[in-house]
Every structure is written in structure tokens, then in C-alpha cells.
Symmetry: C2
Subunit: 138 residues, 2 copies
């Protein structure tokens, strides 16, 4: 038939996407670090007094994170060289996470983003109310 099938078109699209990713891989990285959990984890580690935190400490410090997301996020950060993972073979096991130097530089940035959110929440909230009211009136 003259037209390609939907599946073929999807294949093509995927191939094009892969090519794009190769061309612009930083977009990938940006997406990775533009993640709520990444921001919270790095902020927490950045603020840690000893510079390192245990798995369960992180879980308690970060509101609403599930085991799965915490583990997943930490693994991904470890893979990217942002954090180090240190296992102490005691009973029970103890695992500490610490920012690498590379991670520290990113942690600063993300902390300031988190700070921004906290500092400007009221302002944003007011804008939202105004916007919604205007829409309701119209």
C-alpha cells in the first residue's frame, strides 16, 4: 500500500527521536535533574551536617517519597556520579549517601531553586488566586 502503517510510522518516529537524543543529549540530562525527587534529595544531602545521610534518614527527611522512588533516584544519581553510596557491613546494614564534588555543585543550584519555591510561594499563590478569579468573572 502507498501509505505506511501506523506501526511503521511509530518506528520512524522512534528512530527520529533516538537520533534527536544523540544530537541533543543534554536535554536528556536536563530532564533527569529537573526532577522533584532529585531536587529534594540533593537539597537534603547538601544540608546534611555530616555531609552524608543514611537511606532511612533521607526517607524521613523527604516528605512523601516512597521507597521505590527514593531508591530509584539514588541509583540514578549514583550512576551519574552525583552521589556516592557507602555500605557498612554491620548488622543491620548501614548505607550512607554523600554528595560528590560534582554533586555538590549541582546541589547548590537545586537548593537555591528549592529556596526560591519556599520564599516565593505566597507571591505565586496570590497570582494564582487573582488569575482564577479573573477567569471566573469573565
Amino acid at each position: 500500500m502507498a501509505t505506511r502503517t501506523a506501526a511503521a510510522l511509530r518506528e520512524e518516529a522512534r528512530a527520529a527521536y533516538d537520533a534527536f537524543v544523540k544530537e541533543c543529549p543534554t536535554s536528556q540530562l536536563l530532564a533527569r535533574i529537573s526532577d522533584k525527587w532529585v531536587g529534594l534529595v540533593l537539597s537534603a544531602l547538601g544540608e546534611a551536617e555530616q555531609g552524608s545521610m543514611r537511606y532511612s534518614e533521607l526517607g524521613r527527611k523527604i516528605p512523601g517519597v516512597s521507597q521505590k522512588m527514593l531508591t530509584q533516584t539514588l541509583r540514578s544519581l549514583e550512576r551519574d556520579g552525583i552521589v556516592t553510596r557507602t555500605v557498612t557491613a554491620t548488622v543491620p546494614v548501614r548505607v550512607d549517601y554523600r554528595l560528590t564534588e560534582l554533586g555538590g555543585s549541582l546541589g547548590c543550584l537545586l537548593s537555591s531553586v528549592k529556596q526560591w519555591a519556599e520564599n516565593h510561594f505566597d507571591e505565586v499563590s496570590a497570582h494564582r488566586d487573582a488569575y482564577d478569579e479573573a477567569a471566573a468573572t469573565a
Copy 2:
């Protein structure tokens, strides 16, 4: 029956989530601004020479964004008072987006995050390769 239905459980979970959101609304805001598209839009607007950009300019400047996501992101940013939307009733219509003062302060931060991604991509990439190889060897 003794156990609650799946639907009821979901209802409960949603209620708990809503309660949590009320308690910690900045987490909401952080999730909003920790978004790939938000970062790219604000970076683009921050770098704009006239300080403002048209809808289609943004679409061209930001690689891989769909109309839907661009519109959605811009609306959300407008609602939050991060950008302003100006319609010029010419033919064809012209719509410009510009950072507000509030948006400017956030734009700086997100631009530096984007910069970080671009500057450290090679380093992260090297870490990934090392990590993956170690995993393959083991």
C-alpha cells in the same frame, strides 16, 4: 465485607494526598518548577534579546516541545505570575511572552541549572559509562 474495596482505598489515598498537599504546598510548587519544559521556557525567555518572545519563536527555540506542552506550560506560568502574555490584535494575531520580575529571579536559577547540565554533561556521561561497565563486569 470486612475489607474496603479497591475504589474506597483509592479514595482514601487521594484524601490523604490532598491533606498532605495542604500541609506542604511548597512541595507542589517545587514539582511545578522542576519541570523540563519550564526550565527550557524560562531559559529561552531569559536569554531573549528583547526580553520577550512570540509563541512560535519559543516553539522553534525549544527542541522537541509539542504545541500542547508549550501552551500548557505557558498557561501555567502565566497563572503563577511568572510570565505575562500579551496579545496584539493584528492579522495574523501576535502573542508575546515576557518574564515578570518574579519570573526573572526564577529564570536566573533555572538558566544556571541548564548551564550546569551543558557544562557537566561529559563528566556525567563518563561516570555513567564507568558505572555501567562495572555492572557488566560483575
